[in-house]
Assembly symmetry: C2
Homo-oligomer: 252 residues x 2
């Protein structure tokens, strides 16, 4: 197998209302089944998920957490507003977001947002945002592409962050090896490969962060197209998640 | 940024004593700073980490765990022998391996090993194995390359497995964005990107599993070469690992 990958150059600063699908078509020549990886940062900006901290009404719960973890109470409140469950309050907030992802600070970003009193929330429904990009590209080019919207997440047991998928369209989230045979003819039992996170991670390398960031990466030469899909296929149900249960039993 | 990646074709079945560095040089033309990702499966075979289950002497502890999780007691014992700490015993064994990785079943593999009564242990010292491949390639070609040895691991909160680095040579494990500035001139605080896991994941897509597997992938066009490095830079110290502590407090 062989693939090429490149960051799309000359992407302007994204403003609310900008059409990311159209922008991609303008800035690069796409091919059928290209895998287009888009940083959630620009999707959030396009979806106008910029929130002035002063618009946040702080509750006593947010104030209490803020005292523990040292974060701005308005920021803590914004995290709580985006979350349906809190697993860790300090030294950082680990939460279940309303869209189903478990991550630090509900993925809310201070960086790369204009105005130091503004924060950037994750897209409200990342699958919907991915689908919109996919459909715009199909309308403009007739090409069927796969879209992955990414965030960067920390991990248990390992230092550092990696790119992770938070919304998808037109791609199978996992490649299921179960039932296929190994080199010696025995059936594989457990492999179900989370390819969208593997793509998200690699694209993250090509994107970079900070002021040199190029938030759109195209991966070409592989075909994992599937018409119908959802990031929710990748989120582990609570009953099957030993680590989540350990965190819950501990935090009570 | 732009990169290409390809699986090296026509890799024969690896046997104990086979020289993987030499094999790579024979099968493909390398370039300076190529990133060579190698599945731990073939490294283990080359290092003769194949263990007949009948050689394992089962202790009462392994028998007790075997009753809980339903695994062969010899397999459980082999996992314990490779581990320095056990976090979860059932429904699967989550352990700290002697080489420092936290993973299920100490990374021991039933698949792709000749003889159904044989199992395959992870390389004893994956950094050392990576270094050996790197040095052989340098001796034979004069090229300085980066080497990443990978396994596939499950993750907290998310379904499926992804490729993860377990041993490295000639590559920086993380790309540290802390201190660089964002699009609006503010200093980034937290980003330290675990690039070796991001490379491992993407290479895993190109490798495949099962009987069509191509266990060596070359990623070209990026330069993350660093002479001195260790996978241990990526393993989170226990004191900084909330999730590990939650598991420990729960399992007592």
């Amino acid at each position: 197998m062989k693939a090429t990958a490149f960051a799309v150059e000359n992407i302007p600063l994204i403003k609310p209302g900008n059409d990311i699908g159209r922008l991609i078509v303008e800035k690069t020549e796409l091919e059928e089944h290209d895998i287009i990886v888009v940083s959630s940062t620009i999707v959030s900006k396009s979806d106008n998920r910029i929130l002035p901290l002063d618009n946040v009404k702080v509750t006593p719960k947010a104030k209490a957490i803020s005292k523990k973890n040292g974060n701005d109470p308005r920021f803590v409140q914004a995290v709580l507003n985006e979350s349906s469950e809190v697993f860790i309050e300090s030294p950082f907030l680990l939460v279940l977001t309303k869209s189903g992802s478990i991550c630090v600070n509900a993925g809310i970003d201070h960086s790369n947002v204009q105005g130091s009193e503004n924060i950037l929330l994750l897209p409200e429904d990342p699958d919907r945002s991915a689908k919109k990009i996919k459909e715009t590209i199909f309308e403009l080019t007739g090409k069927k592409v796969s879209v992955i919207i990414t965030d960067t997440n920390g991990r248990a047991f390992r230092m550092g962050q990696t790119g992770a998928a938070i919304g998808i369209a037109g791609i199978m989230p996992t490649r299921d090896w179960r039932g296929t045979k190994d080199l010696f003819g025995r059936v594989l039992e457990v492999k179900n490969e989370a390819i969208i996170d593997e793509f998200a991670g690699f694209a993250n390398i090509l994107m970079g962060e900070g002021n040199g960031g190029t938030p759109i990466v195209i991966i070409r030469g592989l075909n994992f197209y599937r018409e119908s899909c959802s990031i929710k296929e990748l989120y582990r149900p609570e009953t099957e998640d030993m680590i989540r249960r350990a965190l819950i039993s501990r935090s009570v």
